[in-house]
């Protein structure tokens, strides 16, 4: 009998503990009362991940609660996007993402786009380029394009339909007519690894993810997808030197932002925006941005929305012209 009482008591304790842990409804003025989850769309060590982690470290100082980063990869980031959308719109789950969700709808990946989220902070965008491994036989983009047109199997390490390498490949196909064999990896870090290890012929790399390999010579940069060259990589040619037609798509690059589900209390969004803005302005984060060659924006609210809408319109137009989408 005594045992039963102890057991009943412990069960009761367990239930109380469970209830106590349940997220209580709190007013926005106290937000955040609990740690916040930062759901990163892409894998550990990828471009999005390496920008979000330092920013969150600084932002949590201002928030007063920890931001726990979790990488939920897959489906060109749509698994993370869906995950955050499926949670309560209470500001405790942040979507830390790149440009990809803007294309989900037109590509049929998901019904969600950033229209279903509110942007609390936009970090900036950046320049990308075409890279091959150090032992690659290709020395220029033209060679890759010609090889592909000649029917050779040229493999492109991608991050999925709607991911950065896919986007660039679609634009390249529209200009050159060359089609590449696309192999999907779960983040730009693993796509880069595939090129470093020689499994794939080339990939599209962000400057932040490839500049150190440029310096060490582990990756050969064939060209930059930009109108102006980068000081530290002065000997890398611009794509317009080989394919002047590409200019119509430039300047263009992926962007990074922090989002919450639509319908989140504006007061909560304001707290988050303020925290991220302060973190962004911190000298140590500015140094990270400089090291990573990010074009800083640091905007939120309407300004961010305008940028996002413009980006989406331009990219969808470009992809439609390129014939990648109908």
């Amino acid at each position: 009998m005594k045992m039963k009482k102890v057991l009943a008591g412990l069960m009761a304790a367990a239930m109380t503990a469970t209830l106590a842990m349940a997220p209580a409804t709190v007013s926005a003025s106290d937000y955040p009362t609990d740690n916040v989850n930062g759901i990163v769309q892409w894998g550990e060590g990828g471009g999005t991940d390496s920008l979000m982690r330092p920013l969150s470290t600084l932002a949590q100082e201002k928030l007063g609660k920890s931001i726990i980063i979790q990488n939920k990869t897959g489906g060109t980031g749509s698994i993370a996007t869906q995950y955050v959308y499926d949670q309560e719109a209470d500001g405790y789950n942040l979507l830390m993402g790149a440009e990809n969700p803007e294309l989900y709808k037109v590509l049929g990946i998901s019904e969600l786009t950033y229209d279903n989220f509110d942007c609390v902070f936009l970090i900036g965008d950046e320049t990308t380029g075409v890279v091959v491994g150090k032992d690659s036989k290709y020395t220029s983009l033209t060679e890759i394009v010609e090889a592909a047109k000649a029917g050779e199997k040229v493999t492109l390490a991608t991050t999925g339909t709607g991911g950065l390498p896919w986007e660039v490949a679609a634009l390249l196909t529209s200009i050159t007519g060359a089609e590449f064999k696309q192999v999907q990896y779960d983040s730009d870090a693993s796509a880069k690894t595939a090129v470093l290890g020689g499994e794939c012929d080339f990939t599209i790399c962000k400057i932040q993810s490839g500049i150190e390999e440029y310096k060490s010579g582990d990756l050969k940069w064939l060209c930059l997808l930009a109108l102006e060259s980068v000081e530290e990589m002065a000997d890398v040619p611009l794509i317009t030197a080989e394919y002047p037609d590409f200019e119509q798509y430039l300047p263009w690059g992926p962007f990074y932002g922090v989002f919450v589900k639509e319908g989140t209390d504006p007061a909560v969004e304001e707290v988050l925006s303020a925290a991220f803005t302060e973190a962004f302005q911190d000298p140590s984060y500015q140094e990270v941005l400089t090291n990573f060659h990010i074009n800083p924006m640091g905007v939120s609210g309407e300004e961010a929305k305008t940028y996002l809408t413009d980006w989406q319109t331009n990219m969808v137009d470009a992809l439609t012209n390129a014939g990648a989408i109908q």
């Binding site: 740690n35 693993s190 060490s216």
Partner: protein, 502 residues
């Protein structure tokens, strides 16, 4: 000479040693609670240590990392609930040992093996990091696929009534592993419109339910079984014992370091592979595997701790973290002005050697904290079941909630507990189920990648013979498979008989 001076930094800054020690101590207890992981502890620490100087923060994180990886074995041995997926294999022989009253001995072995494993991992990191990272880069999709298949072969190594039952449980695991949005095309699979399932089934939630709750339910339904009195007189394994198992330890640690260094695999897979290898290669263990074989603790425990050193290799040589914990560390280093990438070892050799020496200090701390308190821990098994079983349930609830702070995780964990109960009742092993969930992603994605690289299945198979790594892995699988067949066993028995007749 500068390398040596960097290595000795912690000894001139005693606070660093203190931080590693604190981290290690805390890590053991965090790691022992299922659902609480090193990743989570380190993530929470980032905010706590932000204002600190880099070295102290790194020291504390490394302490936690080592402690937590080891801590997973505690609950695996004592309660049959692995504290982390990397400790699943430890539970297979650790728990039977505890049931025999030898929990103290099991924990002693787990501790010494984790220490030796960590040390071997550190040595490889210190002397061979560039070479191992080159090897890791050469691992192609097909090699990851073969590695996953090797993991799957473990089903044949589990003690269960028949291979069919093991395969059934593994098939359930694989099926559960495919639930959720497809990782390449984002199409929902087996979600039946349930938004919770979009992100897939969390394998830690499944693990806690299948092991923890099901164990509690089984014991509740078995009446009048008295708790086993634990022998705690001889917990520290003698030096001779460590020497005796040393070949197995070294073998497992090497596998642990290499698998840990692969960006696409980690300590959990290393531990499973090594358990399997131990079971296949150790002839005549004192006790059969699955019933409390010491070798069954030696292999996974040395492997999962050796994987720690391995995880640092890609982080320091390629700028790509080997697992979630090193990803957090890399983020923390970036904010301190470091640029992750292949030049890190050249530009910041001090950091490299600091990590090496902190790992070394951490393994010494592990000896101290791992072996003290074993006697008290062993008493957990002696707690009357009326108190222990509800505690297991509470622990499982708290642990599964802590992962994502999602209430639904608790319900799913409970459902897995019921599934595990029936599996165990009908003598189906639960471990292959967890194995299936863990390996599905690795197998599926790399198979699909392999196919898109090689166009066809025959092309994929042919590609195995173009790389030495693939050939070695393939031969290993063939050998593993052949030695498991009845024909080989008959032949081998005949040969043994012939030899003894002479």
């Amino acid at each position: 000479m500068s390398a040596l001076s960097y290595l000795l930094v912690p000894f001139t800054h005693p606070m660093l040693i203190v931080f590693v020690a604190i981290g290690c101590f805390a890590g053991i207890y965090i790691g022992a609670i299922p659902g609480l992981s090193a990743t989570m502890a380190v993530s929470l620490l980032v905010s706590f240590t932000y204002g600190w100087e880099t070295n102290s923060a790194i020291a504390l994180m490394i302490g936690i990392f080592i402690g937590a990886v080891y801590g997973g074995s505690r609950s695996a041995i004592l309660l049959n609930i692995p504290g982390a997926p990397a400790a699943v294999a430890t539970a297979l022989d650790g728990y039977p040992l505890a049931q025999k009253g030898e929990a103290g001995r099991a924990m002693g072995v787990a501790t010494t093996q984790s220490v030796v494993g960590t040390l071997l991992g550190v040595v490889v990191l210190a002397v061979g990091a560039p070479a191992v990272s080159q090897l890791a880069l050469k691992f192609a999709s097909v090699d990851y696929l073969l590695l996953g298949l090797m993991g799957m072969m473990m089903v044949g190594s589990l003690n269960c009534k028949s291979i069919f039952r093991g395969l059934m449980a593994a098939a359930i695991g694989v099926l559960l592993g495919t639930v959720g949005m497809d990782s390449m095309t984002a199409i929902p699979r087996f979600t039946f419109g349930n938004t919770y399932l979009n992100a897939g089934i969390d394998y830690v939630v499944a693990m806690i339910g299948l092991f923890g709750v099901s164990e509690a339910l089984i014991q509740i339904t078995e009446k009048d079984v008295m708790a086993v009195k634990q022998k705690v007189d001889k917990i520290i394994p003698s030096f001779d014992t460590i020497i005796k198992y040393l070949p197995l330890t070294i073998r497992s640690s090497i596998v642990g370091v290499i698998v840990g260094a692969l960006p696409g695999a980690g300590g959990d897979i290393a531990a499973l592979l090594c358990y399997d290898q131990a079971k296949r290669t150790v002839k005549n263990p004192e006790v059969p595997f699955g019933q409390g074989a010491v070798e069954g603790i030696v292999a996974p425990e040395s492997a999962n701790n050796a994987a720690i050193g391995g995880a640092f290799i890609p982080m320091l040589t390629l700028g790509i973290p080997g697992d979630a914990v090193t990803a957090v560390m890399l983020g923390a280093l970036t904010i301190h002005g470091l640029q992750p990438g292949p030049n890190l070892m050249k530009t910041s050799p001090d950091l490299f050697y600091l990590i090496v020496s902190c790992l070394f200090i951490g393994s010494i701390c592990l000896v101290i904290f791992g072996l003290t308190g074993v006697k008290i821990f062993a008493k957990i098994v002696e707690i009357p079941r009326g108190i222990l079983l509800p505690l297991i349930i509470i622990l499982s609830v708290v642990g599964s909630y802590a992962i994502n702070k999602n209430l639904y995780d608790i319900f799913w964990m409970m459902a897995f507990g019921v599934l595990g109960y029936f599996l165990k009742r009908y003598e189906y092993p639960v471990a292959p189920c967890v194995l299936g969930i863990i390996l599905t992603n690795l197998l599926e994605n790399n198979y699909r990648r392999g196919i898109s690289l090689n166009d066809t299945v025959p092309g994929l198979v042919a590609s195995i013979f173009t790389s030495p790594i693939s050939i070695i892995l393939f031969v290993a699988i063939v050998v593993m498979f052949v030695t498991q067949t009845q024909a080989y066993k008959n032949w081998s028995a005949k040969r043994e008989a012939a030899r003894s007749a002479k």
